[in-house]
Structure formats: structure tokens, C-alpha cells
Symmetry: C2
Subunit: 330 residues, 2 copies
Amino acid sequence: MAEKAGVSLGTVSNAINRPEILAPETLKRVRKAIDELKFIPNASAQTLRAGKTRILGLVVPDISNPFFTDLAKGVNDAALLAGYVVILCNTDEDSEKEDHYIDILAGQNVRGILITPAHETNKRLNEISKRGIGLTLVDRPSIGLDTCSVEVNDAHGGLLALEHLYERGHRKIMCLTGESDIPQVAERERGMREAISRIPKADRPTIITQRIPMMTADSASTVMSEHIAEKGLNFTAVICGNDLVAFGAIRAIRAAGYSIPEDVSVIGYDDIDFAANATVPLTSIAQPKYQLGYAAAELVISECENPEKHAHQKIQFQPHLIVRNSTRSI
Amino acid sequence: MAEKAGVSLGTVSNAINRPEILAPETLKRVRKAIDELKFIPNASAQTLRAGKTRILGLVVPDISNPFFTDLAKGVNDAALLAGYVVILCNTDEDSEKEDHYIDILAGQNVRGILITPAHETNKRLNEISKRGIGLTLVDRPSIGLDTCSVEVNDAHGGLLALEHLYERGHRKIMCLTGESDIPQVAERERGMREAISRIPKADRPTIITQRIPMMTADSASTVMSEHIAEKGLNFTAVICGNDLVAFGAIRAIRAAGYSIPEDVSVIGYDDIDFAANATVPLTSIAQPKYQLGYAAAELVISECENPEKHAHQKIQFQPHLIVRNSTRSI
DNA sequence: CTGAAAGCGCTTACAG
DNA sequence: CTGAAAGCGCTTACAG
């Protein structure tokens, strides 16, 4: 072993963990040996001795969704900086899979878990905290759980979207979004109502709310086509639940013979990478996806490295409007 | 500890790992104690002793790319099935980050590594195999490395794209793609030449090859705009390096006042999810991304669980053509 | 079938 | 400043 450097194994350990206590000469020699032998400390042994891994678990409902992909990137980068590594768990919005993953993560002695629970909050999460594993909720309010959380101000996002359209002269606006029992959806609608309440009564726009079963392009396209077939184009703008929904809506509107943004303005949500590159560059409400993940990782890491000094906190980011070509003044 | 069951700690271990060698009576007693004390074996100690984790490392250049996202899903699912968990490493195409991650992975004693090296093949990879860690290359031929690999038949993909356009009457085709030193690019062009060689000489289409520095929409859009400004629309169809490139090309062609597919047919590559939902649904060459990841994971797992029975193998998938609205007959 | 013991590779007081 | 030694929690021959 690295004792070929002529020192004891304890000194090698100190060279790695507390280099300042070594004689400079010795340190140099040890480091040379480490390099030459390409010595990499065994994490299992370190963990066994120190009692702590440097592994985080990230549990998300759908890694195919660009939102979570960017978020995962943020988590990874923050983790790497702190010397942590992250195990990715994709639940496909399946609660059983989610529970299974949480058990596995606990068995691996992960130091902390970052999770966006698929449905409501998961009971198993309470046990996690009890076990001394850090926990922070991502993009979900921490209902009834004493943990950290990071989220985005959805009410403000809804307000931004509505104000943008109002300022451009739109008075008949469709809101194409998911079921109202989804926290995000409810919050955004609250923000829209807030925006409307600030407008003089006589000038307030009409809102046509159209729910879609899933937040996908296909689902949106179908619902939009049906709406137009039944009631015609009884709106001049659409606020969509996310960018994919916006793309689906645009497809349906075009298929009915109308143009974007000439006949209808469309605004998306999330500002996924593709929004800027879509054939009609999409106006959207941007969410700091990467930062959300980055902050969440910093939060758990701080929690597990200073459990006594740590106070649970909720970090809320602000969304902002990105204007592109899919909305125009009328 | 669980010796409250009145047995030695070695017996507890055997109860967990080799229950069949215990006296039924003892086993029962131990299990009861395990349940009551909610005993969960320490994975670090197990690993330290047995030398084997159930962790895989997945190293990709860019998890934001839908191609790798889908691939990661396949890896995750196959891993979960075999009781493995996967650490996700995103290198941003940075070789240093890649090396760093490989070291970390080695330190975590991962059982196997799945990697799409950012540039050529990484030297550090040789050491990985020496260390007894399973290794399989993903979407990269295993040049000079004695490992398993999974890939897609790129030559066939190029052939499919060209044949499709030829059959639809196109005789002036632009090939908008990356540098020829990228293995995938070279292979696809080889496939295109093969397709052309099968066509009667008099009827062979002309190919205009236009290289782009990066395989992104912006890069493609810029190059396409310049081309049209300089030489006009001297082609009736474009074969693109990937779907994002196709979107960029479409944007530029439209900006120049032409329509898709009326004036120009465009074919993408990868068939990312969004291709079907684009405003002009994109004809594309589909690659089995999920299956690629799934197969790769199965390969490493088989390698590390049966090192002696294992023979390195190369699995090659076939791409196929998905016809949508961005290409038409002339 | 069960227990005692060695040892996996580290970290960390504690002498010297 | 450095080395010798104990011990983290397991697994696994090896006696008995």
C-alpha cells in the first residue's frame, strides 16, 4: 500500500483528511505516493468508521420531463461541489415504486433524500427523518411534515401570465390547465384572480377555464380541438398549464385553420429549453428549475452536516415572464 | 443488539444470508428479534467485508438531452429489477469532470459503470476494468477497449433517411450534420453513400454536405440561414444530425419565407418525444433509447455477477424510420 | 448447527 | 509531527 511512502497508514489518512497537521515534507512524499499508486480511499470503510455516507437520493415522478431533468442537474452540481453523489430514482408517479425506492435509499444509508412526492405527501417520509436522514421536499409544499422545502411562487406566475395578456389587449382568455386539486394549478389560478381584481371592473377580462386530464400535448390538443368544434374561437388568448400543453394547443388551433399569434396568442409555463426553439418561439413563464434543484441539495446537505444548527426552512423562488413570438397585442 | 435472541452475531448474519443452514427453531427466534428491533444491516459494513455493492454508475455527457434522459430511464428500470441502484453523473462533455466522477464512482465501490465517454474513449476506463468494476460503453464503439458495448446501427439509419427522400422524388438533398470525426456522423454518411450506390447512376441524387459546429438548434439555424442567403434554396430536402438540428433548420427555412414541407422536406434523427408534438410533426429516424439503456444495464450486471462466465459482447440495435408531416413527395 | 475469531480499509484518540 | 492500536459492523472459514 501507500506505505511505500515510508509512513504509517494512519499518516496517509491524515494526509488526506487533515493535511495541515503533517510536516510539509512528509505530506509531499505521501501525496506523491498517492498519485503514483492512484490510491482511492474505500468509501465503505470510511463510512463504516465515520458513520456517514456522502450519498444523496433524488426521487422524482418523471425524469423525462424537462423540468425534472434540469432540476436533477442542479442537484447533481450542488452535490458534486460538496463531495456528494446522487442516486436517481424515477417513480413514474407510482406510489409503490416510490416507497420501494425510499426503503432502498434508507438501506444504502444515504445521507439525505430530495423528493417530489407523486401524490400528496408520503407517510414513509416521516420515518426517514426519524432515522436521521436529511429530507427536503421539492416543488411541493411541506404539508404536515416538519422538513425543508423549495418551491416556486405559483400564484405570482399566474398573475404574470394574466397581466401580460391583459396589457396586450386580450379580454377573452382561455385557461387550459389541469385539475384544480393539484396545488400548483390552484395557486396559479389564485394568482390570476388576484391580477383580475386589480383591474377596473368594467375592463376585466373573461376567463374560460378548460381542464385537461393530463398535462401533455396530446391531451391539450384533443381538448382544444373539441372546444373549437363546439364553441368556435371564443377567445383571443390561451394561458397553458405548461409548455407541452401550449404546443398541443397550438397544434389544434392551427389544425382548425387559425394562426399563432395572429388569431390567438398562446402563453406556456416552465420555459423548457425547447420553448425558444419551437417553430413559433413560445412566450412562457420561466421557473428556475436548475436553481430549485441546486438549492434543495444545499439544504439537505446543510441539514445533515449540521443537524444541531439546522433550522428547517422553506425557500421560494419567483417565476418570471419570457416574452417571445407566440403572444401579440390586439 | 439482536443477540437478545440468545445467539451470537455470526448466527444473526447467517439467518440473514444463509437461512437454510440454521436450525428452524433458531431461525425463528432470530427473525423475531430482527423484526422487533427493526434491525437493518449496515450496508457499508457488508460492502467492506464482502467487497461488493449493488450500485451502478451512469456517466453521460448531457442529461438534458432527451436521448440520454430516456436512456437513463432504461438503465434505472433494469437496475431496479436486479436490486441495483444507480448514481447519475452528468459530465457536461467535460473530460475532467468525467475523470473526477469515475474516481468518485470507484471510491464508492460501484459494481459497474455505464458510460458514454464525452471524447473518444477515456484512458481511465482501463483502470476501471482492472479494478474489477464492470464496464460497458453506451452508444460508442469500444475502440481498443476490451469491454461490452451497446450501440445503434448508424449506417443503416443514414441509409433509411436517404432512401425515404429518394423514394419521394428528392434529387437535391442537403445533409446538415456535425464534424466527420464523430463516429456516429461518419457512419451515417457511410450509410447514405451505400444507399446512393444502389441507385442507377443517372438517377442519383446530389448531396450537399453542410457541417455545423454543434448539434443544436441555434447552430443549425445560423448555418442554414447563411447557406440560403449565399446560395439560395438549392435543395429540396434536408437530412439533419438530430431532431434539434431539424427544428433549427426549419426555423431558418421559414424565416427565409419558405414552407415545410411544401418547399422543403426535413428529416430529423433520434425521434425525441417532442418530434411528434412539434408544430410540424417531424419525420425522424427513431433510435431505441430506452432499450439501449436497459440492455446496457443488463450487460454490466451480468458481467459483475458472473465474471467468469461472462464474455464481452456488443449489442447493436436497428434504427427505423418514422414518417410524419415534415417530408412529402415532389 | 453454533460460536469464536479474523479481517475488510479506514479514522481517531493517544503515546511517544 | 508520527506511529501503534482500537474499533466501526459485518461475513466467513474454521473448530467444536
